[in-house]
Amino acid sequence: MKEYASFNLETEIDKNELDKIIIEAKNGNEEAFEKLCRFVYGRIYSYVFYRVKHKEDAEDLTSEVVLKIVRALKNQKGNFLAWIYKIAANSLIDFYRHRKVAQEISYDDLSQESIGSKGVSPNDVLMHDKLKDALTHLTKEQADVITFRFIQELDNEEIAKIMGKSIGSVKVLQFRALRSLREYFKKKGYETKD
C-alpha cells in the first residue's frame, strides 16, 4: 500500500461524486468547496512537484493554482480535470517566466527536504530527485503523460480527455516518454532496481 498524505487530501473521488461536489461548490456550498479544494490540492501538488526545484515552490504554486481554480470555478465548463491541469500548466509557465528559473534542475540542489519526511526512504528521495531531473529533459507532453499515468494513476481515457488527444496517441506518448526516461537514466548512469 502506497503512502498517501498524512491528512485527507481526497485525491480519489468517484466521478459522479466529483460532479456533485463541483455543482454544490459552484452554488457556494462551503463544505463542497473544502472537499473540492482538498481534491484539487492533492492532484495539483503531485503534478507541480516534479516540475519545480523546491518543495516550497511547489506548495506556493499549488496554493496559487487552487485559489485560481476557486475564483474561476463559477465559469468552469467541460472536463474538470482537463481544466484544472490547464490552469496548473499555465501557472507553471508564469512561474518560470516571472522568476526566471531555469527549466533545468541542478541535481546538487535537490535534497532530502524536497518531499515529505514521513515514511520516505533516502532511496525514494533519490528516485524522486532523479525523476524530477529526468522529467525536465522530456517534452512537456511526455512529462505530462508520465505524471498522469504513473504518479496520478489516471487511465488512458482520462489522460486523453485531459490532453485533448486520442487514446492511441496517449499510448504512443507513454511509450516514447518511458523510452526517453530510460535513455536519460542510462546516459546519467542511474540504474533501476529490479
Binding site: 502506497k2 503512502e3 498517501y4 498524505a5 498524512s6 491528512f7 487530501l9 485525491t11 457556494g28 462551503e30 468547496f33 473544502e34 479544494c37 482538498r38 490540492y41 492533492g42 501538488y45 503531485s46 512537484f49 518543495k55 511547489a58 506548495e59 506556493d60 499549488t62 496554493s63 487552487v66 485559489l67 476557486v70 475564483r71 518531499i115 515529505g116 514521513k118 515514511g119 520516505v120 525514494d124 528516485m127 524522486h128 525523476l131 508520465i146 499515468r149 504513473f150 504518479i151 494513476e153 488512458n156 499510448k171 504512443v172 507513454q174 511509450f175 516514447r176 518511458l178 523510452r179 526516461l181 530510460r182 537514466f185 533501476t192 532496481k193 529490479d194
Partner: protein
C-alpha cells in the same frame, strides 16, 4: 495484425496494475522483453514512489484563503441581490430612459400642437394625432363625434388663421366642410338614440360654422366672396338636413334636405 509495441506496453501496464509481475507478463511477448523490460521497470519504480506530501500548514493556509474568498463572494452575492432589486443593468437603464424621453417628447409635442395653426411647425403633429385617434376609434358613434370635433377645430383654426394672415385659407375651409359632411353622413348609420345626441351636437357646430363664415364674409376681399357664399350655402343646407332629422314631420315638405335629394354641393 500484430499489435504495436506501444499497445503491448500499455497492455502489460494494465496487467501489472492488476497485480501481475513484469516477468509473467513479458512471457507472452518474448520478442519485446529486451526493449520493454527496462521501460516497465521504470514505470513500476515511478508508480511505487510515495506521493509527495505538502506541509499541513500550507494546506490549512490555502483552505483558510479559500474560505475567506467564499465568504466574501457570498457577501458580494447578498449585496448584489439586494442591489439588483433597486438597480438596473446599464442597457436596461438606457432603454427605459429612451422610452421615457420619447414619451415625454411625444406628450409635450401633442400638448403644444393642440393650439397650432396651419403652416406652423407642430400642425402636422396635430393632424397626425387626429388621424391616429380616428383610426383607433372603432364604432361609428365615436367616429361621428370625432368628425364633429375636427369640424369645430377647423372652424376655430379658420377664424384664427384669418385674424393672423388676413387671408382666407381655402384649403382649411374645404376641410372644415368635409369634416361636417362626413359627420352628417356617418350619423345616418347610427341608432335613433345615438343620432339624437349627435345631431344636437352637429347643429351646434353648424351654427358656429355659419356664424364664423358670416363674420369672415364681412372682412374678406372680393375674390373670396363667391367661395364664402358657397360655403355658407353648404352650411345652410347641412342645417336644413339637421332640422329635418330633428323634426322629420314639420320640415320635410317645406325644405327637404339637399343631401337626400341630390342637390347638395358639399362634395
Amino acid at each position: 495484425m500484430k499489435p504495436k509495441i506501444e499497445q503491448i506496453l500499455d497492455l502489460i501496464l494494465e496487467e501489472i496494475a492488476k497485480g501481475k509481475k513484469i516477468e509473467e507478463c513479458l512471457k507472452d511477448y518474448s520478442d519485446f522483453v529486451e526493449e520493454l523490460g527496462p521501460l516497465l521497470q521504470i514505470a513500476k519504480h515511478i508508480n511505487e514512489l510515495p506521493k509527495p506530501i505538502p506541509d499541513e500548514t500550507v494546506i490549512t493556509e490555502t483552505l483558510t484563503n479559500v474560505k475567506r474568498f467564499v465568504t466574501a463572494q457570498k457577501q458580494v452575492r447578498k449585496e448584489y441581490s439586494l442591489k439588483s432589486i433597486f438597480s438596473f443593468q446599464p442597457a436596461m437603464i438606457r432603454a427605459i430612459a429612451t422610452i421615457i424621453l420619447i414619451l415625454i417628447f411625444g406628450w409635450v409635442s401633442i400638448s403644444f400642437s393642440v393650439k397650432s395653426l396651419p403652416g406652423e411647425f407642430l400642425y402636422p403633429i396635430k393632424i397626425f394625432t387626429e388621424k391616429i385617434h380616428y383610426i383607433l376609434t372603432i364604432n361609428n358613434k365615436g367616429k361621428t363625434e370625432l368628425h364633429i370635433i375636427f369640424a369645430d377645430r377647423r372652424t376655430q383654426e379658420l377664424a384664427k388663421s384669418f385674424k393672423k394672415d388676413e387671408q382666407l385659407n381655402r384649403e382649411l375651409l374645404d376641410t372644415m366642410l368635409k369634416e361636417a359632411h362626413s359627420a352628417l353622413k356617418l350619423s345616418e348609420s347610427l341608432s335613433d338614440t345615438d343620432t339624437k345626441v349627435i345631431i344636437r351636437k352637429m347643429d351646434k357646430i353648424y351654427h358656429c360654422q355659419l356664424n364664423t363664415l358670416q363674420e369672415l364674409k364681412k372682412s374678406i376681399c372680393g375674390c373670396d366672396t363667391v367661395i364664402i357664399n358657397n360655403a355658407i350655402n353648404t352650411c345652410v343646407n347641412y342645417h336644413r338636413c339637421i332640422e329635418q332629422k330633428l323634426n322629420p314631420q314639420s320640415n320635410t315638405l317645406q325644405s327637404p334636405c339637399p343631401c337626400s335629394t341630390g342637390e347638395c354641393n358639399c362634395k
